[in-house]
């Protein structure tokens, strides 16, 4: 169930995040993300500009893909539970690409009533190529 409450007690190393499928990415979403984020780099809007820059055409903002990965985390852990998220943009996302965000629990720790879960996170396109790789920490409530 989407937005179900997750407790630290019920999470184990090796658990996988429910995959989040986003897209196909459309130009209108890149235009909307430009407006929302303030990143108006024409490389995400203007195909001729992107080609002249040697990028072969328009591609999505890395930050849009990172937003997708953050959504995969908060759909699972809840809004406001992400304490850290760091990613590397490994490959470009093109128009019509479908992005699937995934994650796996790699560690758990508790200190002073704070329960932290560490995850390896990544996103891949429809060909299974990783477009984003990274790590995240979420803080979860405990039943104990």
């Amino acid at each position: 169930m989407k937005y179900a409450k997750v407790y630290a007690d019920g999470v184990n190393v090796g658990d996988e995040l429910p995959p989040l499928v986003k897209g196909p990415v459309q130009q209108i979403q890149l235009t909307r993300y430009a407006g929302a984020s303030g990143d108006f780099n024409p490389i995400h809007q203007d195909d001729e500009f992107a080609k002249a820059a040697g990028m072969g055409g328009v591609f999505a903002h890395g930050m849009l893909s990172m937003g997708f990965v953050a959504q995969a985390l908060t759909d699972w852990a809840g809004a406001g539970r992400v304490a850290k998220l760091g990613v590397r943009f490994a490959a470009l996302v093109r128009l019509k690409d479908v992005v699937t965000c995934r994650g796996r629990v790699v560690g758990k720790s508790s200190k002073d009533d704070r329960h932290l879960v560490e995850l390896e996170v990544w996103a891949e396109n429809q060909r299974g190529e990783k477009i984003v790789t990274g790590r995240a920490t979420v803080e979860l409530p405990s039943r104990a």
Partner: protein, 151 residues
């Protein structure tokens, strides 16, 4: 001939700037990502939540730029332009969710510059770290962005 990156920019501190989060911008940002989480979009859900109001998605701090500054100034100072840069990496440490109506202070600096040669040729990596504090001077977020410059 490959361009040279101006390493004198390393350590540069930008003038601190204040940002007040607008309610509509939080919702616009969540919607642009296609994230319909009610904690970002629904004022009633926000009001009933532990935060007392809606909160911003984890990556929202990326919108915190100094609107009074020339956004291309750093690229010019580095000796490059927007057609040669890519976003290589990004990290957010979030101590508390950002919320509408609050004013935050951002302090940014160039914390590292290094060069590497990749598949597509020589590249410079410029790391910018921004610390975001609230009105009590408590750190609410730290973001680190790595800009890749194709040399």
């Amino acid at each position: 001939m490959p361009i040279q990156i101006n390493r004198a920019v390393l350590g540069k501190e930008f003038p601190p700037y204040a940002v007040t989060v607008e309610r509509g911008k939080v919702k616009e940002f969540a919607r642009a990502i296609g994230d319909a989480n009610p904690f970002y979009l629904d004022d009633r859900v926000g009001a009933a939540s532990e935060w007392g109001d809606i909160i911003a998605p984890p990556t929202f701090a990326i919108t915190f730029r100094d609107e009074a500054a020339d956004t291309n100034a750093l690229l010019r100072e580095l000796g490059t332009d927007i057609s040669r840069v890519l976003h290589g990496e990004q990290e957010f440490e979030i101590h508390r969710p950002l919320q509408p109506g609050r004013t935050y202070l951002c302090r940014a600096r160039v914390s590292d510059i290094y060069e590497k040669t990749g598949k597509s040729g020589p590249m410079a990596f410029v790391v910018r770290e921004t610390t975001v504090t609230d009105s009590d001077n408590e750190i609410v977020a730290v973001m680190r962005g790595v800009t890749v410059v194709r040399l």
